[in-house]
Subunit: 480 residues, 2 copies
Amino acid sequence: MSPIARNRTTKVPLYEEVAQKIARMVEEGTFKPGERIPSIRTLSRQLSVSINTVKEAYGSLEDRRVIEARPQSGYYVCTRLPKVPEDPDLSRPELNPTAVSISELVAMVMQDVLNPDLIQLGAAIPNPELLPVDKLNRMLSTQTRRHKLESISYAIPPGCKRLRTQVAQRMLLAGCELRPDEIITTSGCMEAVTLALRATCRPGDTLAIESPSYYNFLQLIQELGLRALEIPATPAEGMSLEALRYALDHTRVNACMLISNFNNPLGGMMPPEKKKELVELLGQRDIPLIEDDIYGDLSFANDRPTVAKAYDSAGRVLLCSSVTKTLAPGYRVGWIAPGRYYHQVERLKMTFNIASASPTQLAVAEFLANGGYDHHLRSIRRDYARKTALMGESIGRHFPEGTRVTRPRGGFTLWLEMPEYVDSLRLYGRAVKEGITIAPGSTFSATGKFRNCVRLNAAFWSERIDGAIETLGRLAGEMT
Amino acid sequence: MSPIARNRTTKVPLYEEVAQKIARMVEEGTFKPGERIPSIRTLSRQLSVSINTVKEAYGSLEDRRVIEARPQSGYYVCTRLPKVPEDPDLSRPELNPTAVSISELVAMVMQDVLNPDLIQLGAAIPNPELLPVDKLNRMLSTQTRRHKLESISYAIPPGCKRLRTQVAQRMLLAGCELRPDEIITTSGCMEAVTLALRATCRPGDTLAIESPSYYNFLQLIQELGLRALEIPATPAEGMSLEALRYALDHTRVNACMLISNFNNPLGGMMPPEKKKELVELLGQRDIPLIEDDIYGDLSFANDRPTVAKAYDSAGRVLLCSSVTKTLAPGYRVGWIAPGRYYHQVERLKMTFNIASASPTQLAVAEFLANGGYDHHLRSIRRDYARKTALMGESIGRHFPEGTRVTRPRGGFTLWLEMPEYVDSLRLYGRAVKEGITIAPGSTFSATGKFRNCVRLNAAFWSERIDGAIETLGRLAGEMT
């Protein structure tokens, strides 16, 4: 009747099979040294084997010093076992990046985040030392205490009202007049973008995107069965409107997607008049624009720039953002102002995962209202401006002649174009061996472009990183 | 240059346009009474209008008593304004449920959760009074304090290790031997199911499901462009294997999906030997099984039942679950053990929203390890057993002759089959007018079945609910 009893094919005694099952789970770390294992009665019921069988199994495990009985308490995994290390989880496969697919490579770059031994120049994560961790977590405590019922209940879409109100207030500074009920909260900006694409495109549709483009966008486009039309972008102003206009005249495009401010990876900011022109250009053809503004608050200038959504009177722009780059990636608090696609996005959010976590929405709403967010922004903007500049100088010193690097006006990543002979996939493989992770250029294109480029995260800049840049420069130079 | 300056079409003076913009945002609740609005300098820069224009605008708003200046501090929304009520957000549209689509109806039933004035017999939410809110929120505080860096960092898939270890331990009680690294954490069970469907099916594929089936599953199937093949289920044992076998012989089926324990809405539990048979039946045809076990811990018996995954040696079962029904819906903590689809699911999770919120994963891991989860389960199981029984009796007293009701052995919902003359859509409309929300039967079918059925949530049972059942019974009887 039980999985154990009915699936038996071996001649091992039944108690030994039970013993082996438990021993395996201890070995694999499911039960850790010092932890209690199920009682004899529970396990016997659960596996539909007799009490005596489990007793024999536990006896055998005691003999082997895998578990021990504690009077009046039950059975525990022996603490004398060698401690299973909690981290890392990361058995890196034997690395030959040129042989793996782009999507495997992207997964590797993102998983590198979890490896504390690597110098983090890869994924575009903010520097935790610059995040208001204690204040945020304190607000998480107080807010969940104050809003008990709300903290454990579904924040049914459109999501936490207080957060939406705060976002609407802040969006005024980006030139947008939004009502709280035009905003839907999401699990980070990436989910906002996912919902936007699902709401505007069907499989087979064509999407105009910047080139180079954030690698997770390319993954998503592939996953949803869309076609990416890569429009060239410049480090100064982002997507070329001339190229876009030409493309629209020659190809049927169903939607356009870009990061309008300090885009990833180039760091370009589309000037306000070009944003307006973009909205008009797409408007004439009734094409929706998915605008990612995740870096908008990280301008090195005094003010945050406007968004394209500010020029949208027809509800064609779906504005996506989050606090991932400024407060806490792990809180997964983002939002979307989907314009005329509001109802589709709301329904999709409910269908895919019902709602986003309530406690972190409450905490972020409180931080935006009373946490000194503007003060915090002023401080990290200055810091990132300094860090990107210093890393840029370091690259100038250490990379081979002919290397070009961006000078972003916001955000915290740099884009390098190295001499043609440098293969960024091989560079990634060699860099990881030296304890450094980077984002190879090839991951930013759907069509194999940017092999000699690389994106570097400057958020962690320090003296130690200067050494890492020197190492990278040397590795690149050795590829001549 | 600015949105304001460039989009002007009226002859209203510029300062008046700025004033109207701020007044609108106050009216709509974006800026609330007592809140500070942007400084003159900030707004002038942001809207690219002169300092004097903003000064004039603010002066005009002061005259109208919309805002007030506070010396050394800035401008604030007047507190003497009538207070904008924080809740409800819920302007219910004029209700004619028979005229709306099923997906609109489902959205209505789910949004009803937010309305504190309604008696909640609709959505299958647990009773918050039975949830360990204080303990959970306390653990949220201590865990985020203890694991600072982890709390704000991405829990990159497969997600929080400690949570996965706890889940692997508990799954032994469901007959499953799982390693922590076979599990991926998700934003609730619904996201686990979404990922499972994306990993196993392509648009146009056919999915065998139970009938009746949880309405959000039907929404998801429609959204992903799949076809639902409805296999009859019974309140005792769930999906009919005889019917499934027949269907598999006559139709090409790409995947099968069901709630194996105390399914929604019937409350049926598939016996262990039938679970095994199901796995074998699908295995012969190499068809993946998406198994939702969200109610598994809510058995009224001593033990939690096994899952079909326990009989799966080929990795064809994708087991999905969460703590939504037992600890906190709003925490959005769920998981999936996707078997041979592990890598697809991991990549999809990363692509759609990168990761789930870290703080709530940490808190749930701690609760499962040290929160007395088993003790908690024993208490809510007893309570739900009592509540479903009492509501069943109440239904017997108050509903029209010929009404049949399930006697579930777990979970907290009841399924009613009323006389043919009762239209559950109209019943929903009338019930809401009486302050009661229910889940109409039609939402549980893709093909218009169950018009005379309704699902009722018994989790909130009390004397007051007895009156609501009486009202519902009367409304149903009046439809003769």
